[in-house]
Amino acid sequence: MTISSIMRARIALTNVARNVECTRSIYLHKGPRVAGLKRDPEQVFVTNQGYKYGTDSENIKNIKQFLSDKYAVSDELTLQCLTHKSFGNGIKPHNEKLYALGSKLVQLYFAKYVIDTPNTNNESAINGKNFDVIGTPIAKELGSRMALGIFAKQNGLNSVMFWKSYNNKVNFASSGEMKVSAQMLLALVGAVNLVHGKQTAEEFIREKLLSTGELEDITVKIVQEAH
């Protein structure tokens, strides 16, 4: 063997080493959970009604329709709004931050909405704003999780949501569906706020939640039933 052939062999060896790509082969477990085994995503990322996680038109159809073209957001963001942090232990993008932003905007908008009473005859009103409304049941329940949850259910917005209930056999409120639905709706407001800006998001609240009077009707029923 000559020196040059040794050199050639070495170069060939290093080339081989360079071309080797490390690939992982992980066993994906199907069936019930076994500690330490990674579960097959095909099985895990499915809701208990059988909807598979993804931006399929079936999943996001209702929301797209509700948002209409004026307030449209991307499919990925719509799916993120529909995903609660309980889904797959938060491994998919979820709506927690969007919800935080949306809920602050809704609270603010409703506070501004209820005190905006230019023709009030309450002497304590300041500059045509009746502050006696703040703190009353109607003002507090208007953006509450119960009113928004029922609103989402009545409009079929929560028919596909990606979340995990601790017990999905109990009723709307106790299973957490009400809370998760309300959070989803608020996350939508947050998403519209991020995509289109605050002014459009406030138009969205006015047009989609208030102008039909549906949310106020629900809130009135909630307050009346409690008394």
Binding site: C22, R24, L77, K85, N89, I91, K92, P93, H94, E96, K97, A100, L101, K104, L105, L108, A111, V114, I115, D116, T117, N119, N122, E123, S124, I126, N127, K129, N130, F131, D132, V133, I134, G135, T136, P137, I138, A139, K140, E141, S144, R145, M146, I150, N171, A173, M178, A191, L194, H196, G197, K198, Q199, E216, V220, I222, V223, E225, A226, H227
Partner: protein, 370 residues
Amino acid sequence: MLRQVIKRTAAKNISLVRTSGYVASRSYHVTKFDSRLKTEYQLLTDYSSYKHTIYTHRLPESTAEQCPLLIALHSRLNLPKEYQLSTLSQALNMQQFGSDGLANNFGLSTLGKNLLSYYTCEYLVMQYPRLPMAVHNTAVDAYMGKLTLAEIGKSWGIEVDTVSKLQHFLSQEPEAMKYGRLRFQLEEEKNTVKEDGVYELSQVEMESVDTNNEFIPKEIEAYASAVQAVIGGLYTHVGENATKAFIHDHILSRKLPVDKMFQFSKPTRELVRLCDKLGFTDPVELRLIAETGRLSAHAVYVAGAFVGKEKLGEGVGSSLKEAKTRAVVNALMGYYLYSPIDQDGNEPKLPSEAGYVFEEASVGGGDVAI
């Protein structure tokens, strides 16, 4: 037998609870009217008709104008001239249920709190879109929590009204002076003799003591509510844009060390989960980059956290373990503290600003459970 009886009565009580179409009221408590305010209204949704019928009135503007403290506060805060002194005086009144016959700051401070919450949240979400929720909430609290707002209120020069009626009379102080002070103490509290260095908790404060043996003094709460109410009053008189500018000037301009708010219990596990969430195909690896003096008393190791060929973070430590942990924490901080900038390298515009443009980067994916 007794147990059966108890069970039966419990079952009866449950059936007595009225249920709406969806919801058993047991799992959700609907807000009730505060009977002490004797609120009257015509229709639930006729917001202009709501009125508390306990006797309260607003301070006449002419009386407020006689109070030098109010005028000083007004000009110190550089409030617009549309901002009435009577509203400013109302913002400083935390007396409940019209005990002094004047309208209090409850409505104003609730409105102010809503304004503060939104603008703080918006600012933080845009500034640090990937902040974990726990850190985000801590940051919100640091910007507009009660303790912070109380500090701001004190720095604005708001004084507490501790002068009792008798002292007021004896010192021949003008009547209007008290309308410029922060009013939250009842007359009998003012008359109690205070020992220096001894602080007696009131009944309300006793109830608010939590498991960590911490409580928020009423004075702090009063200061915080006054600051919120001043902001609410600003909205009432001059609208939202001026209020937003005020919040940015006074609250959000404070420097906040967000990077000091992190605490990781299982950083490596968190990084692995995070990379899984981000869909990286290669596994997370911790590698030794450099070392010196392994056999000496002062060894130094440099470790790196890698995914495939990408280095996510680097850490220096005096042991291998320390260097590894620092590398992982460095990688996590680099991800969480990401702050987007626009094309010119400036801070991005906020959704409430004109000319705001949406960037994908301002949507965070949320935290992972570890």
